[in-house]
């Protein structure tokens, strides 16, 4: 198989790689905020339960979570494994990344000085207005470097979908590598991820720059 055919074949999986990437961000970024707020809840029970789930999601391999979400329903309830693996893959990724984002958000929220809340309260902001207008914009700026880190990791983590044979780029590459007994597909995959992350880096850098209008 020529290098060109290899690249073309693997490119066919690129759409699915992108699907995992974008859908995961779409769901995990807001879900992480909800988890962070639950984690910081004044209700001890809510806070502890959330904390427990975060430790599980961060303390066990993503690969295991992928297997659990994809095949768990079959082993537990005898339910059929869904034909479209994108759904369980995105669910597993979203929940896992939400746990990481939640801790980043929490760190950001807790780093905002109390004085900001106090000033807003005295000035008549409601709690919701305080969060949306005063706290959140400052949090976003502060956490951008950490979020960029996670997003870069996510690009590479999409390759983990091969464990449930979801036909994304890396899975296809691995299949070619097996059938052709060649290491070339892995190099191609590496170049793909590198270029993908080059773009991610540029985009995130641009967002960070736009948030630099204040200190």
């Amino acid at each position: 198989m020529s290098l060109m055919t290899m690249i073309l074949k693997m490119s066919e999986g690129l759409g699915k790689t992108c699907a995992i990437f974008f859908l995961t961000l779409l769901f995990s970024l807001p879900l992480g905020m909800i988890v962070a707020l639950l984690r910081m809840s004044k209700n001890r029970v809510v806070s502890w339960i959330t904390r427990f789930f975060i430790t599980i999601l961060r303390g066990t391999p993503l690969m295991l979570q992928l297997l659990a979400v994809t095949y768990g329903p079959y082993y537990l309830f005898g339910a059929g494994v869904s034909r479209n693996k994108l759904i369980p893959v995105v669910i597993a990724f979203s929940i896992n990344y939400a746990a990481y984002f939640a801790e980043i958000y929490r760190g950001g929220i807790e780093s905002i000085p109390v004085g900001q809340y106090e000033a807003a309260e005295v000035l008549g902001y409601t709690r919701f207005q305080t969060f949306m207008r005063i706290i959140l914009p400052q949090v976003v700026k502060r956490i951008m470097p950490s979020v960029t880190n996670e997003v870069v990791t996510l690009v590479k983590d999409t390759s983990m979908a091969f464990t449930v044979s979801y036909q994304e780029m890396f899975t296809i590459g691995k299949q070619i590598a097996n059938s052709q007994t060649s290491f070339m597909p892995f190099i191609v995959a590496g170049v793909f991820y590198y270029l993908f992350n080059l773009i991610v880096d540029r985009l995130m850098g641009r967002i960070e720059k736009r948030l630099n209008y204040y200190k």
Binding site: E118, E121, V122, L123, G124, Y213, Y214
Partner: protein, 256 residues
């Protein structure tokens, strides 16, 4: 600043027998004071005497354990029981607060810092803008509308914070050590605008360590120590001829 002459008999703020503890430590004990319209009351005393806590209770940032807080003769806190949230929000429109550390919103321009709170309260945006520009001029900050807080000196930031508080047209303004975070050379410019507000008969309570300022500007001075009001009176009495031994001792450190 408009002074409502009809209310001259009743205090804007009245505090009766206020008490507050942090855990086991009592920080306010049996504090009573009232502030008449147009008056400037200075609160002095050593660190940890409860001065700031008193202001923070008056502005609902801390919850008092017992006593009364009345604004315009109406109970915000009655025997340690707080009025319903909606009422407290209405009381909040009566006072403004200037913090030691300014607490401007760093992601907002000077103009937005000043204009957003009244705009959120439903005031006409054009009028709010006009008033903000007027206040900035008064604070000596013309041309700083579009600056961000980090681009300003501490003294300028504090003057923006004062303008922000005034933009809501409070009946009474609280200052919590407004110059303590400032270099000595920037302190003067902030004290100057507070003095100017006093000349305009703005009602104010100022917690401060600036003794000459307190003496010159206040109608009344309160000396607090360990959660008690030790002595209070006309500034010339408290500074010139203090009655209590503790007051004399404290003022001696300031070479009065």
């Amino acid at each position: 600043m408009p002074v409502n002459n009809e209310k001259e008999t009743s205090a804007i703020l009245e505090i009766r027998k206020l008490s507050k503890s942090f855990g086991e430590t009592a920080v306010l004990k049996d504090i009573s004071l009232s502030v008449e319209p147009g008056n400037v009351v200075s609160i002095i005393g050593p660190s940890g005497s409860g001065k700031s806590t008193l202001l923070r209770c008056a502005s609902f940032l801390e919850t008092a354990d017992g006593g009364d807080i009345l604004y315009d003769g109406r109970y915000a806190v009655n025997d340690g029981v707080y009025a319903p949230k909606a009422d407290l929000n209405r009381f909040r429109t009566l006072f403004g607060m200037v913090f030691q550390s300014f607490n401007l919103f760093p992601h907002y321009s000077v103009m937005k810092n000043i204009c957003e709170p009244p705009a959120l309260r439903g005031r006409n945006r054009d009028e709010v803008r006009e008033r903000a520009l007027e206040l900035l001029k008064k604070m000596g900050l013309e041309g700083k509308e579009n600056a961000y807080p980090y681009q300003l000196s501490g003294g300028q930031q504090q003057r923006v914070a004062i303008a922000r508080a005034l933009a809501l047209d409070p009946e009474i303004l609280f200052f919590d050590e407004p110059t303590s975070a400032l270099d000595p050379e920037l302190t003067g410019e902030v004290l100057k605008v507070i003095r100017q507000l006093a000349d305009d008969h703005m009602t104010m309570v100022v917690v401060t360590h600036e003794m000459p300022f307190a003496r010159a500007v206040s109608n009344r001075v309160i000396f607090m120590d360990r959660g008690f009001i030790v002595e209070e009176g006309h500034p010339e009495e408290v500074f010139g001829d203090p009655k209590q031994e503790r007051t004399k001792q404290f003022l001696k450190n300031y070479n009065q």
